[in-house]
Amino acid sequence: MGEMNTNPGVRIGPFEIFLPARPVVPEPKPSNDAGHPGRLFIVEGIDGSGKSTQLSLLHKWLEAKGYGVVFSEWNSSPLVKDTTKLGKKKKMLTPATFSLIHCTDFADRTEKSILPLLKAGAVVLCDRYCYTAFARDVARGMDRKWVRDLYDFAVRPTVAFYFRVPLETAIGRITAARDCLKFYEAGLDLGLSDDPIESFRKFQGRILDEYERMIPEFGLTVIDATLPVEVQQSQVRQIAKRHLEGAQELRIRP
């Protein structure tokens, strides 16, 4: 990966980069060795773990601090999401095509927004990342190594927060908040049970097992998601702060 070679005050898209008046090379070299000056914070966890709430609170804090923050959501590529929607609506997806179409979506976001923005020095926030695919696709029966190879192009996050919550707590939160569970969300394509709640329970149980396996494998930062929201957020901010030293401030020009 080549490094950005920008001059102070240069505009990139809607952003203006303010660099220290010292060398032109992106510096100080970030605490990561990712080869880009940006920071990538991502959140992971099963449905109902509260990760999205935590990420949006982090987002507001980062903006208030003056960082140029960009948010990218799972399954949101304008080029790909219609195909995913079609496959889900018509129940056309097998474990393999479910895996591939989500990876296609992720690739488009990586190529068009995540990677270029990190090169521009932005702080990028992702709600779900490749670990979601590793957990879900393997829970659906895909080969662990195949799925990991598939996402080989993914940028390694600065911090990957994993919001760990017991299965029953998550199920309680989800069933209280929703009228019904979606077909693929409940893992009904796997025929684990005809009852959506029971199927969801079994499917999410498998997903939890995969997440547990990934904590040491990818060095996920575990946050206890049963703690009060404020306590979790203060932990998240403290950790994020440590990784923001030397990050460029990208302000959106009014």
Binding site: V80, T83, M92, K112
Partner: protein, 283 residues
Amino acid sequence: MRETYGRLLPGMKLSDLAGKLIVIEGTDGAGRTTQINLLKPWLEELGHAVLDTGMTRSPLAGDGIRRAKEGNNLGRVTQSLFYATDFVDRLENEIAPALRAGFVVLTDRYIYSLMARAIVRGVDPAWIRSIYSVALKPDAVFYLRVGIDQLVPRVIFSRGFDYWESGMDLHPGHDMYEGFCNYQKALLTEFDRLSAEFGFDVVDASPDPKIVFASLKARILDLVDDSQKSYLSRQVEETIDRISRTIEPNRFYAVPTPPEPSAPTPMRNVPRFMNSNGNGQHI
């Protein structure tokens, strides 16, 4: 038994994929579609059920790929994965079921074209090979080979230069002709490498389509005849097996003399397992 390139998709049983998987490969303008349009009716006339399939024809991802290509802003990794989605959808829902039903599957391009395109675009060859490790190994890959000098007039006098066929997404400059030549040359080089690696059956696609067709017919005939022979010998074996089990010696009674095993059914009377309605659809 049929094999994959290393990994098995969940739910894919290899033991019952009895049909023949025949791949027609070649660069843009090599005449693949022309040949498939000749081969399909010919095979059907011989009594084979035929499914023809090709890139971007999946109900899941075909339209999505076409829409994404209209905007000319499809990145190389996204492109590779979108095509892989299309491929696996067809592999699981068309190709494997047709093979299971004993069809001859004629596919216009296979994983090799997708690999070549990705590699020419600078994608990691090991990555793309890992994705397609779930693909079924075909019974034959016919690589229709033409040189760049013949490709150019074919393209100019049929459909003109296309943005993607000229590799313009690689931003080679403003000259589409130059872009086309360089991109297609790179593809040809990659195809030649893949040909050696995967053992393609190379067919010189430069002569008249009728000559190419004749050459393909001869090679495919060997393949499908072989399929009939093995089907017949399997039938005979099963019949003998069945008979020998029914006449298992009974210790309380005199063993009857085994009846003569029935002679192999003559070829023309072999019942076809399934038929095609002529459009490659299952009926």
